[in-house]
Subunit: 360 residues, 2 copies
């Protein structure tokens, strides 16, 4: 199994709740898609060309300031469970996690990462730069990305068209190749049933939302990934600013919704929040989805100061470490569903107990 | 409001879990129905005759050994909430609790009680002797009743027919006038779905079951009142022995069911039990019915030694003191549903917290 200590910060500094608005916005992710001129898009490439892509990007990274000390992980050479682990830390996409049990499902692909900052090689595009930050930090994430994209762009020829901008495998990404997203917790809007109005508003301003794990994933635990829909016709900075401004407005709506709940349904909310805590504190078997839903309740309780003995960091940590690959990794072997549910419950209990003891 | 200290032991020594098999059998109750010759049955009586009944029984009680120091409570002269309080302690019947808000609903009636042992006057029958014991103690409860019935029978003329035995207002009670019942907790049989078979078996041997509050009341929290169906054609002692033997067999079935659960579904049961505890420990608003159902889970956990930090006495106390009149009495005023749910949750939390602190 993979030694996660090889990745700086284990690749999860984005969950430390140190960033702006981190009680509501768990994390910020910005990515840039780039492709190498003269090479076929990954989907139509052959093994030799994919290996060449990896070699070129690795070499360019080694010569850069930002990626000089990065970890290099060949995703097609590690165990499926380790790929899933990286995915659960949001370091590689679902596609590169390759959930199929045969390693064969994954072709030559690599992750070059400093933890926060990384490049996936041979995902849908040849390069997918990514920066993860704690809280709402779109500007900061974008600056980091810009600088690394520039460094590598000096060494690698990125496919660019004067009319369309950067060329990408899927036309919806062409132009800036930028997708910026924030993972935001909106239980107040869900409970006051205002969420649909807000989500509809997003689509009217060129934004979209997804579940916890990006495209096609379900919304669980009232966590939404809000991101830009279009990548064309605006500059990177404009896209990032626009998302940032809109997310700030969504946070305001969420805060108003929470005030309304506290004014009109304080007892109901307190009950909901503490029941969630009670179940997490004592359950002996629990699914990941239920864990997320209960953590959502507890997080709301912490946000409303109904629960004061828990940190947002603890809640973030629970969200990541209760995932299947993380539990299996901690146990040193693959676990079946029953074992996962039981060990998940045990882990949650232990963390919550430690937190309450430490703060008592 | 009534000062419950006037009643010896507050009338709730039956919940102290000191009796035999008290983890499974919460309490035993035996009652004898008697009527005074030459007086109309209560339902056809007038106020003067009802007052005469009370005076006669009170006078006979005062001259007896067993009731000499008993409390005498005129049920038609106390507040509805106080009557409900007595009912929640199982000291008076639902009829005499008179749940209607007007005191007028209750005609002249009295409770003479030493706590464990008592007589209701002018219930359906002129006299309803009752003895309550902790655990499975049918023989003991019956002996107590026999002796008090004999003492009062020496002074009061009980209506008796050589063919039918003691005459009662409702023919189903004629003969011995005896109804013996045990309040038994059968979650194992409910969870293994064996309960219906067992309950059907009861009716084949002349026994019946009811919910927590006797006739017409629902089964909540897996608590069943098992009692004799017939009162005629057997002696009092035979009825009591028969019930006792059968209940012992039911306890064995329950224990077998619990062993099967622990063998085949240990994790599921542990999860169920601890989730119930977690909810009780942290809920901010809870109905009485949900409280009973969760206490049932916790009680099963204590019975199976999955939970070791709680006593059966605590669980019994929670069952009684979370009832509406008890909560209102503690607060010194009548409470609405929202207040009841909130104060109930607070009470449960406090008791469970104290228990876990004390035993930690």
């Amino acid at each position: 199994m993979m030694d996660l200590n090889l990745i700086p910060d284990g690749g999860i500094s984005w969950l430390d709740a140190s960033g702006p608005d981190s009680a509501v916005v768990m994390s910020t992710r910005v990515r840039l898609a780039r492709n190498l001129t003269g090479r076929r898009f990954t989907i139509r490439s052959d093994a030799a060309s994919r290996r060449a892509n990896i070699e070129d990007v690795v070499a360019a990274g080694r010569d850069s300031r930002k990626l000089a000390d990065a970890s290099i992980i060949r995703l097609d050479e590690i165990e499926p469970l380790d790929r899933q682990l990286l995915h659960e830390r949001h370091l590689v996409s679902k596609e590169l996690a390759g959930f199929s049990p045969e390693r064969a499902g994954i072709k030559e692909a690599a992750l070059i990462t400093t933890g926060k900052l990384g490049v996936m090689v041979n995902e849908e595009d040849h390069l997918r730069f990514q920066c993860l930050e704690s809280g709402l930090a779109l500007g900061e994430a974008h600056r980091q990305l810009e600088s690394i994209e520039k460094e590598l762009g000096n060494k690698l020829p990125f496919a660019f068209d004067p009319e369309f901008g950067y060329l990408t495998s899927c036309p919806t990404n062409a132009g800036t190749g930028l997708r910026a997203s924030v993972l935001i917790h909106l239980p107040g809007l869900v409970l006051t049933k205002e969420i649909n109005r807000v989500l509809q508003g997003l689509s009217q301003v060129g934004l979209t939302f997804r579940g916890l794990y990006g495209e096609g994933s379900e919304v669980v635990g009232n966590f939404f990934q809000i991101s830009n829909q279009t990548t064309l016709g605006k500059s990177e900075a404009e896209l990032v600013d626009h998302l940032s401004t809109t997310v700030r407005r969504v946070i305001e709506y969420e805060e108003e919704a929470r005030q309304i709940l506290m004014r009109d349904a304080r007892l109901v909310i307190a009950d909901k929040v503490w029941r969630a805590y009670g179940l997490l504190r004592y359950a002996r078997s629990i699914s990941f989805e239920e864990t997320m839903n209960l953590l959502s309740g507890v997080r709301l309780g912490v946000g409303l100061s109904l629960i004061t003995s828990l940190s947002i960091y603890t809640l973030n940590k629970l969200m990541v470490f209760t995932q299947p690959a993380h539990l299996s990794h901690a146990e040193g072997r693959e676990l079946n569903e029953t074992e996962l549910s039981s060990l998940r419950a045990a882990y949650v209990r232990r963390v919550l107990e430690e937190d309450s003891t430490r703060l008592a």
